[in-house]
């Protein structure tokens, strides 16, 4: 279990995390979502004691991470797969980490096998691809057989097969009753991976909900194409629909060149069809659309888009 209570992080005058409170529970894969620069990495670094909070605290199984005597046995983390010395072999790298936490040397072999790096265990890390480094980072996180796992953008650099493998791994870890937190800035990715999501933007908590509840919360719309948008819009609005112009881009067929696309919410496709028939308006297209999580995410974090443009100033790697 990871508990974040009233956490605020500050870089100079910039408030990177603003009074964030949330709990990551065991037995679930929890996605930690937010646009780049929303404060995800900063929060994770605070959890690991790499940054000192301006206020608030982050606890791992009820204790600050930095106070754990052998922290890797309680919590495994992967922040940056590149944070390794390229001169060591994968086995030596893991060996050093295992030794520092009093972890049995046999675990090194076990996790190398678990992440599929056994064949290259003796090779220098410097020659590894990003994906291999991600696997190595996962191996390091798993080394202490911890009950809590936390990964920052673990899917980066993985090929489709790797992504599938990782999803399976995360799922099985959660099924074993472990706490699994992974961050991402891509909602679609989370949709297939996470049971629960915590969304932040500009350092603030935006949503903390089960994935399916979130999906239900954001319904879909209906795409309507007609040559008489004004009349159709008026009648749909009169019947409680919310109508906005839809951007359907390149999908416009030559035959529909004079038509306009509308996005309608509040009315389903059959209701729209009946309304159009009643008014004698021909529909060129009538398509119900499910809400994509990506869109839901975008809408959730619209407020934080300004922040996104400032994100370049947020230090990520520096250890202070």
């Amino acid at each position: 279990m990871i508990e974040v209570r009233g956490l605020s992080m500050r870089y100079g005058r910039t408030l990177a995390v603003d009074d964030l409170t949330c709990t990551v529970k065991p037995g679930l894969v929890t996605g930690f979502l937010g646009p780049n620069g929303a404060g995800k990495s900063t929060t994770m670094r605070a959890v690991l004691g790499l940054e000192v909070p301006a206020s608030g605290e982050a606890l791992v199984d009820g204790r600050p991470y930095a106070s754990l005597r052998r922290p890797m046995r309680t919590m495994g983390a992967l922040l940056d797969a590149g944070a390794v010395h390229g001169g060591r072999s994968a086995r030596d790298h893991l060996g050093c980490l295992a030794r520092s936490n009093g972890i049995d040397r046999a675990r090194v072999t076990a996790v190398l096998d678990q992440v599929g790096l056994t064949d290259v265990a003796g090779k220098r890390i410097g020659g590894f691809s990003l994906g291999m480094k991600q696997r190595l980072g996962m191996a390091a996180a798993l080394l202490g057989d911890p009950a809590v796992l936390m990964f920052d953008e673990p899917l980066n650099g993985l090929d489709p097969e790797g992504i599938r493998w990782l999803r399976g791994l995360l799922r099985s870890l959660a099924d074993e009753g472990r706490t699994v937190l992974l961050s991402s800035h891509l909602m679609n990715e989370m949709a297939l991976t996470a049971d629960h999501v915590i969304v932040i933007g500009r350092g603030r908590l935006i949503a903390d909900a089960a994935m399916n509840a979130l999906a239900a919360h954001f319904q879909g719309d209906v795409l309507v194409r007609t040559r008489h948008p004004e009349r159709l819009t008026a009648i749909m609005r009169a019947h409680g629909g919310t109508v906005v112009a839809a951007d359907d881009g390149a999908r416009v067929a030559r035959s529909a060149a004079l038509s306009a696309a509308l996005s309608v919410r509040g009315l389903d496709a059959s209701e729209i069809g009946v309304l159009a028939l009643s008014q004698g308006i021909a529909l060129v297209e009538l398509t119900p659309r499910a809400a994509s999580l990506e869109e839901a995410f975008m809408r959730l974090t619209e407020d934080s888009t300004e922040y996104r443009s400032e994100s370049g100033t947020t230090p990520k790697e520096t250890v202070r």
Binding site: A83, R99, E317
Partner: protein, 746 residues
């Protein structure tokens, strides 16, 4: 903590690049060997004196130690900066969130590697230096050390081991700097400044500052810890400083690795520890500086060398009545230059008796240059200096002519003459005149020691200065740190036994004449000519042209006039004084002694050598006397047996004391059987035996003979003698028995 240390050790040994860094230390060995080789090349083909003036290469590590330090410092810095540059530090901190633990855990492994590698490297560097110097390493230098110092020399094994240890210390300094700077290039810059730039800058400073600043450089600390030079710090202070450097660097590292906001505490604790470690030994060692109670000032006498400082000290005329009348003695000081840790004071006891040590020290200041790296050198214008102004200079400078008494009546007549001459001087101040003995001079020296605030003194006793040296050894044995007898008079050898070397010198003169066409007597048997001359002169004195008949030369007068020339032939290759002597003999054989009178007059203002009252006033109190006419006869017979060519010269000084108004107050006495440190005797062909005989009486002592002519070899600047004496005075090490100094210029 143990887990983290083990982990850090694994980190260190699993990086092959660390091995590559260590391998770079071979450049330090190359630097040592290369520079030693160049020194050796420069050494060959130089004259002996030029070789002696070379600066010592010591244990040989100095030439490469900066390189070695750099390698170890980089090894230490990389232990942390490579984590920063690769990002590994983040992974490490996740594994070990206690940051200072992470930093400190790097110490044991790094220190262990650096200790082992540092020791191996230090010994290889030493061996390479010594090998490149080869046999030349054993060459003793003026500064009192050999060109290269092997491990068997005292302190060298320690200095090599400490140099190895210091490499481990430097590795930790590198670690601290690396942790503080967090970047490999930044750390390299800081370490370059610390290890390379600062020592170079220190070397450009003007002199006392250069030595002071240089002493604090890491590379100079091993020598100072081992106590074999390198700077002005005592061993404990140097060791404390080395530890303090490590603590300071690690404190900087620990401070910077600690999250901002909690750094002050770390900084305060580390800084306090570093200060404590460096200050406590320094304070405990105390300031070794002199507490010069005498008010040193510029010397009034402007003919003295500029760097000489002068003071006066009051001593009682009669040491048995200290509250009585006192006189002022002028004391001269050539201060230590501050190039090395000051070890104490060397007292140069002047000869004579009555020579001014202050003038001698000024005149021979160049001989003391190397010694002054570590010692103050003082001397005194002793109470028995003839131009002190208390007694008339003229009466003390001159004296009666001496003839060999053939009967008790003639002996008594000589006594009356001597007494009259002595009284002429003594009457002006009898109390003063009667306390000119060497024991009083020795007590004056003790008063100077007390005034200087020195626990002990080291001495170079020159010529007659040997007598006050012996008296000081008898009176104050516990105050003698070291004593050198350089051509010293020997009160334990009687009469002719003191002159055997002079007789040998006459034989050399004769041989030289036989072999040298420029000798006026070339082609004749010089011995026969000489013996015939003095025998005839004893019957009929040889007149001096233009002088009264009283100035005519007896055989003894000729011998006494010739004696200084016999034992000092002058500079090679001309040997001007032997050339002059041969001419004087030739002229005297032809009936005119003015060849002798000419140069005797220059020195004494008298056509014949007078028995100097000024010297006698010390000789006669010091027991250089005949008990009675019978003893005189016995000594004379002995001299005639042992000294075929110069018999009678050995009687000269005691004859001057016949009839002396004051009896012997300071007869020769034995040196104490215990309590004295081993002494060193040095001397030339003509005065070695006397010095050697004195030091033979002090257990553990040694003597070095210079195989050439001269008297007062240290003062004269004889490099080989200076080397042996300096080594003895600095390290109390004596040369092996039978050590000789080859003739200069060969």
């Amino acid at each position: 903590m143990i887990d983290v240390i083990a982990s850090e050790w694994m980190k260190l040994r699993t990086l092959r690049s660390n091995l590559h860094v260590l391998a770079c230390s071979v450049t330090a060995v190359l630097a040592c060997a290369g520079i030693a080789f160049m020194i050796g090349r420069g050494f060959d083909g130089k004259t002996l004196d030029e070789k002696m003036a070379f600066p010592g290469n010591g244990d040989g590590l100095g030439n490469g130690i900066a390189v070695a330090y750099f390698v170890f410092a980089v090894l230490g810095a990389l232990a942390i900066t490579s984590e920063h540059s690769t990002g590994m530090i983040q992974t490490s901190l996740v594994a070990v969130p206690r940051r200072r633990v992470l930093l400190l855990a790097k110490i044991p492994g790094l220190a262990a590697v650096a200790l082992v590698a540092g020791q191996v490297l230090a010994f290889i560097m030493h061996a390479a230096s010594m090998a490149a110097l080869g046999d030349r390493a054993g060459q003793l230098l003026r500064e009192g050390v050999t060109l290269g110092t092997p491990l068997s020399e005292p302190g060298v094994l320690a200095s090599v081991i400490v140099a190895g240890l210091s490499m481990a210390a430097v590795a930790l300094i590198g670690l601290g700097v690396g942790a503080a700077v967090r970047s490999t290039p930044g750390a390299l810059v800081v370490l370059t400044v610390l290890i390379v730039v600062l020592p170079v800058v220190a070397k450009t400073l003007p002199m006392p500052l250069r030595a002071q600043a240089g002493s604090f450089m890491i590379e100079k600390l091993p020598l100072q810890i081992a106590g074999v030079g390198g700077g002005i710090l005592p061993p404990a202070a140097a060791a404390g400083l080395l530890v303090a450097y490590v603590l300071a660097a690690l404190t900087a590292g620990a401070t910077m690795i600690t999250p901002a906001g909690r750094r002050i505490k770390v900084l305060a604790i580390g800084a306090a520890a570093a200060l404590l470690v460096s200050a406590v030994p320094a304070a405990a060692a105390g300031s070794p500086g002199p507490s010069p109670t005498p008010a040193w000032a510029d010397c009034a006498d402007k003919t003295l060398v500029k760097e000489m400082r002068c003071a006066t000290i009051k001593v009682p005329v009669n040491w048995a009545e200290r509250s009585g009348r006192s006189i002022d003695l002028a004391v001269g000081l050539l201060p230590a230059t501050g190039a090395q840790r000051r070890m104490g004071t060397v007292f140069a006891i002047p000869g004579g008796p009555g020579g001014s040590g202050v003038e001698d020290l000024s005149k021979n200041a160049g001989s003391f240059t190397e010694l002054r790296d570590r010692f103050d050198v003082v001397s005194v214008e002793p109470r028995n200096t003839v131009d002190k102004g208390v007694l008339s200079f003229d009466c003390l400078f001159s004296g009666p002519w001496i003839s060999l008494p053939e009967t008790p009546a003639e002996y008594a007549e000589l006594g009356r003459r001597n007494r009259a001459a002595a009284q002429r001087c003594r009457s002006a101040d009898p109390e003063f005149f009667d306390h000119m003995d060497s024991a009083s001079v020795a007590r004056d020296m003790e008063a100077i020691r007390v005034a200087l605030g020195e626990e002990k003194l080291s001495f170079i006793a020159n010529s007659y200065g040997g007598r006050p040296g012996i008296e000081y050894s008898r009176l104050f044995p516990g105050r003698v740190r070291a004593m050198v007898f350089d051509g010293s008079v020997n009160p334990y050898l009687h009469g002719a036994h003191n002159r055997l070397a002079h007789e040998k010198s006459f034989t050399r003169f004769a041989a030289w004449c036989a072999a040298t066409t420029t000798c006026a007597l070339h082609g004749q048997d010089v011995g026969e000519v000489w013996r015939a001359l003095v025998a005839r002169a004893d019957r009929v004195p040889v007149p001096v042209r233009g002088e009264s008949p009283a100035a005519a030369y007896s055989g003894l007068d000729i011998k006494e006039a010739a004696a200084p020339s016999i034992i000092s032939p002058g500079e090679e290759p001309g040997l001007p004084r032997w050339t002059e002597l041969a001419e004087a003999i030739k002229r005297a054989a032809d009936g005119d002694a003015s060849g002798f009178a000419d140069y005797v007059r220059q020195a004494t203002k008298s056509p014949k050598v007078p028995s100097s009252t000024g010297m006698n006033m010390t000789h006669c109190l010091d027991g250089l006397v005949f008990r009675d006419y019978e003893e005189y006869r016995r000594r004379r017979r002995e001299g005639e047996r042992l000294l075929p060519n110069i018999a009678g010269t050995e009687l000269w000084h005691p004859l001057g004391c016949v009839g002396w108004p004051t009896s012997v107050t300071n007869p020769p006495g034995p040196l104490p059987a215990r309590g004295l440190p081993p002494y060193l005797g040095v001397g030339s062909w003509t005065d070695f035996d006397r010095s050697a005989d004195i030091v033979r009486r002090v257990p553990g002592s040694a003597a070095v003979q210079y195989q050439g002519y001269g008297h007062g070899l240290y003062n004269a600047g004889n490099s080989c003698v200076i080397g042996h004496v300096n080594r003895y005075l600095i390290s109390l090490r004596l040369p092996a028995s039978g050590t000789v100094c080859p003739k200069s210029g060969t």
